[in-house]
């Protein structure tokens, strides 16, 4: 037997918690847990947390998933919703599938994490004790980082970077815009959710303008000089949307330094750009519970061990998905799902008192440049020098010179991937 035994610890904690429950008011008592199976709490029911909950349950653990929303609205393919090509209903999933899998789903916001006591407190005051915690809360907009931009401004200049009402708002604004209007997008510096996402969105907005409002124009103001799948995107833009889509790089003065919602203006060091429709994708950070749990560092993101996804700052807390600093892995739904499975297996192994083996992870992200024109980027990752690094010789983008049939196939695969992964998480 290993020197430390998590199960013995769990039994002790259960006894302590039982004593607390007796003395606490009925309203504060936590659900009774089956004696035996170790307890894992998962915070956040997105691609990362939903997957983790399902697979932790599959490993025989007692799993409680904490998620405030009764339904989840998925971001992948939501750029098609922005461009009027898809309905938001198809992005929406419930939690009954996870319940059927035996996960206890609690629709509350986690408001506090006590890493010492191994306890999560929910918005309604209920406390959940855990043997291990998986934190998968996604992102928050870093409103402080872009002067003039806050949640009020986002009602006028939507980010649409969390799918839902923001997505609908941006779609409606584009629909209401007169032909001949200027659409302006602002794209942040790395790191942020979905590196190729802004360029997929630019492509599909350009497609919308080309087919519906051909006298209009799209300007993309970027805080970077290079981006994911850049050569593929730019080749496609030249071919499909010449003269319609203008990308302004950092070194050409593309960085937006402030915005003025009242006049729909985006300000750069060199210019003030007035928009008919402004889509401001601001800088981001791990969602606020990460900072409250003290697992986020000064960058606003969460450093983790690349084998177990355990926080480098607080033992017993694992961080997966967009909130984590996952080295070479991008912040994608595919990556979140892959990380969740590795993390769930590692948590189960650790709870048995054993040492998890080094994993390998995969990512594949599809982007649509037009409805029948898909491109992809892939990577394989393994722990190296304490971080998740690219496996040399693997990964990369779709070929630059592929025929239309190849692009059409990857467009179909984008949707096929979405259907399969959402069924795995929520089905």
């Amino acid at each position: 037997m290993t020197p430390w035994n998590p199960n013995r610890r769990a039994v002790l904690k259960t006894l302590t918690a039982a004593t607390v429950t007796v003395t606490a008011s009925a309203a504060l008592s936590r659900p009774v847990h089956a004696q035996g199976a170790a307890r894992v709490v998962v915070i956040g029911g997105g691609f990362a947390g939903g997957t983790a909950a399902r697979f932790l349950k599959g490993h025989g653990l007692d799993v409680t998933l904490v998620e405030p929303n009764p339904t989840y609205t998925a971001c992948p393919l939501s750029n098609s919703v922005v461009a009027g090509l898809r309905s938001l209903d198809r992005q929406t999933f419930g939690y009954d599938g996870l319940r059927r899998a035996g996960v206890t789903v609690v629709h509350q916001r986690a408001s506090k994490v006590d890493a010492e006591a191994r306890r999560v407190t929910l918005g309604d005051g209920v406390a959940l004790d855990y043997d291990r915690l998986v934190l998968a809360p996604g992102i928050d907009m870093n409103f402080g980082a872009l002067p003039g931009y806050d949640d009020k401004a986002a009602e006028i200049m939507p980010h649409a970077w969390k799918a839902g009402p923001q997505t609908t708002l941006l779609a409606r604004q584009l629909e209401a815009m007169e032909d001949g209007g200027v659409v302006v997008m602002s794209v942040p510096a790395n790191p942020y959710r979905c590196p190729p996402g802004p360029y997929e969105r630019a492509s599909l907005i350009a497609h919308y303008l080309k087919t519906r409002k051909p006298r209009s124009k799209l300007i993309v103001l970027d805080a970077k000089d290079s981006f994911s799948k850049q050569r593929l995107f730019q080749a496609a833009w030249e071919k499909l949307y010449p003269g319609l889509l203008e990308w302004v790089s950092l070194s050409s003065g593309g960085q937006v330094t402030s915005v003025d919602p009242a006049s729909l203006t985006l300000v750069t060091d060199f210019d003030r750009v007035k928009a008919a429709v402004a889509n401001v994708i601001p800088p981001q950070k791990a969602a606020s519970i990460a900072a409250l749990a003290e697992v986020a560092d000064r960058t606003g993101w969460c450093p983790i061990d690349p084998v177990t996804f355990e926080s480098r700052l607080r033992p017993g807390i694992h961080v997966i998905g967009d909130a984590a600093i996952a080295g070479a892995m991008p912040k994608s739904a595919f990556a979140a799902n892959a990380q969740a499975k590795v993390c769930a297996a590692a948590v189960a192994t650790l709870l048995r008192g054993e040492k998890p083996a080094a994993p390998k992870l995969i990512n594949t992200c599809y982007s649509l440049v037009a409805p029948d024109y898909g491109i992809s980027v892939a990577g394989v990752y393994a722990p190296s020098d304490g971080r998740l690094a690219d496996v040399e010789g693997a990964g990369g983008t779709s070929p630059l010179d592929a025929p239309a049939s190849f692009r059409a196939k990857e467009a179909v695969y984008a949707e096929s991937w979405f259907d399969t992964i959402t069924a795995e998480v929520f089905g």
């Binding site: 037997m1 035994n5 199960n7 035996g36 199976a37 399902r54 697979f55 349950k57 599959g58 490993h59 025989g60 899998a101 035996g102 595919f334 799902n337 892959a338 499975k341 590795v342 769930a344 297996a345 189960a348 192994t349 048995r352 083996a357 080094a358 994993p359 390998k360 992870l361 995969i362 594949t364 992809s376 892939a378 990577g379 394989v380 393994a382 496996v391 010789g393 693997a394 990964g395 990369g396 779709s398 190849f406 196939k409 990857e410 179909v412 695969y413 949707e415 096929s416 991937w417 259907d419 399969t420 992964i421 069924a423 795995e424």
Partner: protein, 95 residues
């Protein structure tokens, strides 16, 4: 502790998705695109009906630049032959 371990095994066996055997490196990612059972027709090629030998042979061919993959050649290159064999065996064992 022993009883807990037995209990855990029973529970693992009762749930459909997670295999009793620990996934070899990389294997658990496959189901993000390839459903363990069935798979949408016309979409990403299903692997649910393929044998371990077929999966291994296809991945090795993709590594060697053969066949007409879209993305699996780029992914196959991240794995050694023993890793590919282990993944294929695990995928088939979990059905």
């Amino acid at each position: 502790m022993r009883r807990l371990a037995i209990l855990a095994c029973v529970m693992v066996a009762a749930t459909p998705i997670v295999h009793a055997a620990e996934a070899p490196p990389g294997a658990s990612a496959c189901s993000g695109c390839h459903a363990p059972r069935g798979g949408a027709s016309g979409g990403i090629p299903p692997i649910a009906a393929k044998s371990a030998d077929e999966i291994t042979a296809t991945m090795l061919a993709y590594q060697a630049g053969e066949g007409e993959p879209t993305v699996m050649n780029r992914i196959a290159k991240g794995f050694t032959e023993p890793e590919i064999r282990a993944i294929a065996a695990w995928l088939v064992a979990g059905r």
